[in-house]
C-alpha cells in the first residue's frame, strides 16, 4: 500500500472556507493586502477566528523577483496578526498553489493539525513586461532553455507546433479554447477579463510565439486566494456544505521540455491523474466539472487528453462540438480559466479549487453554475509540466 493511500485512510479532509480577490491589476495593493483580502474572506466563510488557525501555508512563485520580497509566509502571518502561528511558503512555479493545498491536505490528513489555512498569492504587475517574462522563465530549465532565449509562450508554442504537425489540429479549433474561456469569464465577476471574444479576434491578435498569438496566452495578474481546511469529521462545525478532498496527488517530470518522452504529453499529469482516480475511486466519466491549467490554449487540449477525457490527438473534437461549455457534457474552466479569469501564478491552484467548491456548493453566479455538480477535478501545472497536481473534490 502506498503512503498516500494510507494517509488518506487515516483522516478525511474537507474544505470549510473559501475566499479570493478578483484577479487583475491591483495598483493599490501589494502582497500583504491581497493576502489579507482573500484570507479574511476565507476565515469568515468558515465562521472561525484567525487565531483558531494552527498552520498557514502560502503558495508563492517569485515574490523575490516580482516585488523583492522573500520570506513571504512569515510576512503574511504577521500582517494577518497571527504571530506566532507557524507559516510555510511553498514554491512549484505555476503549481505553487496546488502544491501548497496538497501540503495542507497532508497536514490535516496526518492528524497533526485540525485547522489549516492554505493561501496563494502573486503580485506580478509592479514590473515591466520584459522583466516579468524573464522571471517566468525561471520555471523552465533556466540554464538550458531560458539561457538560449526561450520564453514561456515559446515553450508552449513548441508544443503547439509539434501537436498540430502530428495530429492536424487546426488553428481555428485552438482559438475556440480561448473563445470558450472568455465566454465563461464574462459571467465571472472575479475574472481578469470579462469580455467575450471571437475566433477572428484570436486569429488577428498579435503573434507572440508562432503559432501562438496574444489571445492564446493567459495574462499576468495580481491576485490571492485562500481556503480553510479541517478534518471531515469536524467540518460541519464550520460549514453546512463541506467539500471533501477525495484526492490530492502530484507527480514530477523533466524540467526541460526537450527531454520529455513526448513533448505533446505531460506525463506528470497522466501520472498524477491515475493516482488521483485510484485514490478517489472515480473515473473521468464521473467528473461533473473541471478546472484545468490553460496557461496557453494548447495546454487545455493537452490537459483533457492527459487527464483521460479523450484520446491523445482527439482533444480538438471537444471544441468542435462545444462540449466544454457550461451546459455541455464536459464543462471546463467555468470561471474562465487562466486565460480569462487570470493567472496570478502562486494563487491559481487555490483559485481553481475555490471555483470547484463554489460549483459543488451550488453557489456560482447563475449562468455558469453546472447543475447538480457533485464531483470536481482541478489540474494545476508548474512550468511546462515538470510538476502536475490533480485534486478531486466531492460534495457529500
Amino acid at each position: 500500500m502506498s503512503i498516500a493511500t494510507e494517509i488518506h485512510r487515516r483522516r478525511e479532509v474537507a474544505v470549510v472556507g473559501i475566499g479570493a480577490t478578483p484577479f487583475g491589476e491591483h495598483w493599490d495593493k501589494g502582497l500583504r493586502e491581497l493576502t489579507w483580502d482573500a484570507s479574511v474572506a476565507a476565515v469568515e466563510d468558515a465562521r472561525i477566528r484567525g487565531k483558531d488557525l494552527e498552520l498557514i501555508i502560502v503558495g508563492n512563485m517569485a515574490g523575490g523577483m516580482f516585488v523583492g520580497q522573500e520570506h513571504v509566509a512569515a510576512l503574511v502571518a504577521d500582517f494577518l496578526g497571527l504571530k506566532p502561528t507557524p507559516a510555510v511558503r511553498v514554491e512549484a512555479a505555476c503549481a505553487s498553489g496546488a502544491v501548497a493545498l496538497r501540503q495542507g491536505y497532508l497536514a490535516v490528513a496526518s492528524g497533526l493539525y485540525d485547522l489549516v489555512a492554505v493561501g496563494g498569492v502573486e503580485k506580478m504587475t509592479d514590473v515591466q513586461a520584459g522583466w516579468a517574462t524573464a522571471v517566468l522563465t525561471g520555471a523552465m530549465d533556466f540554464e538550458w532553455e531560458a539561457y538560449f532565449g526561450t520564453t514561456f509562450p515559446g515553450i508552449y508554442a513548441l508544443i503547439a507546433r509539434r501537436y498540430m504537425h502530428e495530429y492536424g489540429l487546426s488553428r481555428e479549433l485552438l482559438a475556440e479554447v480561448a473563445v470558450k474561456n472568455h465566454f465563461h469569464g464574462s459571467h465571472n465577476p472575479l475574472a481578469h477579463f470579462q469580455n467575450c471574444i471571437t475566433v477572428e479576434d484570436v486569429l488577428s491578435s498579435a503573434l507572440v510565439a508562432d503559432p501562438l498569438r496574444l489571445y492564446d496566452c493567459c495574462p499576468i495578474s495580481d491576485g490571492a486566494a485562500c481556503v480553510v481546511l479541517a478534518p471531515a469529521e469536524k467540518a460541519r462545525q464550520y460549514t453546512d456544505t463541506p467539500i471533501i478532498i477525495e484526492a490530492a496527488t502530484q507527480a514530477s517530470d523533466t524540467l526541460s521540455l526537450f527531454e520529455r518522452r513526448d513533448i505533446c504529453t505531460l506525463d506528470a499529469t497522466v501520472e498524477a491523474a491515475q493516482r488521483a482516480y485510484k485514490q478517489a475511486n472515480v473515473s473521468p466519466k464521473n467528473v461533473d466539472v473541471l478546472e484545468v491549467h490553460d496557461c496557453f490554449t494548447i495546454a487545455e487540449i493537452l490537459a483533457l487528453e492527459d487527464l483521460g477525457f479523450c484520446k491523445k490527438g482527439e482533444g480538438g473534437r471537444i471544441y468542435n462540438e462545444k462540449q466544454a461549455y457550461v451546459g455541455g457534457s464536459l464543462p471546463v474552466n467555468t470561471d474562465g480559466g487562466l486565460k480569462a479569469a487570470g493567472h496570478a501564478v502562486g494563487a491559481t491552484g487555490i483559485k481553481q479549487v475555490i471555483e470547484l467548491v463554489k460549483q459543488l456548493r451550488g453557489e456560482v453566479e447563475g449562468a455558469r453554475q453546472v447543475k447538480g455538480a457533485e464531483i470536481g477535478l482541478a489540474h494545476n501545472v508548474g512550468g511546462s509540466g515538470a510538476t502536475a497536481v490533480v485534486t478531486i473534490l466531492r460534495r457529500r
Binding site: G130, W131, G149, T151, I159, R162, H165, V208, A209, F258
Partner: protein, 143 residues
C-alpha cells in the same frame, strides 16, 4: 540577468562550447545536458561523457516575438527543439534562415555563436546555435 559572476557561465562550457552529453552504456540512452545518473537504469547504469553529433533535424520550432529582457536585439528569432542524429534533443536558436524557411524535419548543424551580451559592462555569453544544411549536410549558400 547580468547579476551572475563569470563562473556561472564558465562552468557550462563543456556542453555549450563542445556539445558534450551523457550516454548510458547499459541501455544506450543519450542525454543532454550532462547527467550523473541514468534515470532509466539508475545504479545499474553506466553513464559516460560523449561528444554528441552536431547534426540533427528540427523537431519543433517557434519564432519569439516578445523576447525576455536581454534578448531584445535578436527579436524576432527562431527557437527550436533539435533532435540530434543518434542523440538526444536540445533547445537552441536556429539562425541563418528566415522564419518562413524553417520547418519540422529540416536538417541543421551546430555552429558557435554569441548568445547575448550582459549589459554594457557584463560578459558576452557564447554557445551553440543551429543553422540549416542541405541534404548532403553542407551549409546552404545564400545569394
Amino acid at each position: 540577468m547580468s547579476i551572475y559572476a563569470v563562473p556561472f557561465h564558465w562552468r557550462r562550457y563543456k556542453e555549450r562550447y563542445r556539445l558534450l552529453g551523457t550516454k548510458c552504456e547499459k541501455c544506450g540512452s543519450t542525454f543532454f545536458p550532462l547527467r550523473r545518473i541514468c534515470p532509466n537504469c539508475r545504479r545499474e547504469g553506466k553513464p559516460v561523457t560523449i561528444e554528441l553529433s552536431g547534426k540533427g533535424k528540427v523537431y519543433s520550432f517557434t519564432v519569439i516575438r516578445t523576447p525576455p529582457e536581454g534578448f531584445e536585439v535578436f527579436a524576432p528569432y527562431i527557437v527550436g527543439v533539435i533532435e540530434l542524429n543518434k542523440g538526444p534533443r536540445l533547445t537552441s536558436q536556429i539562425v541563418d534562415c528566415s522564419p518562413e524557411e524553417v520547418q519540422i524535419g529540416m536538417p541543421v548543424e551546430v555552429c558557435f555563436r554569441k548568445l547575448r551580451a550582459l549589459g554594457k559592462d557584463g560578459i558576452i555569453c557564447y554557445g551553440f546555435k543551429f543553422r540549416p544544411v542541405d541534404e548532403l549536410g553542407k551549409v546552404e549558400k545564400k545569394a
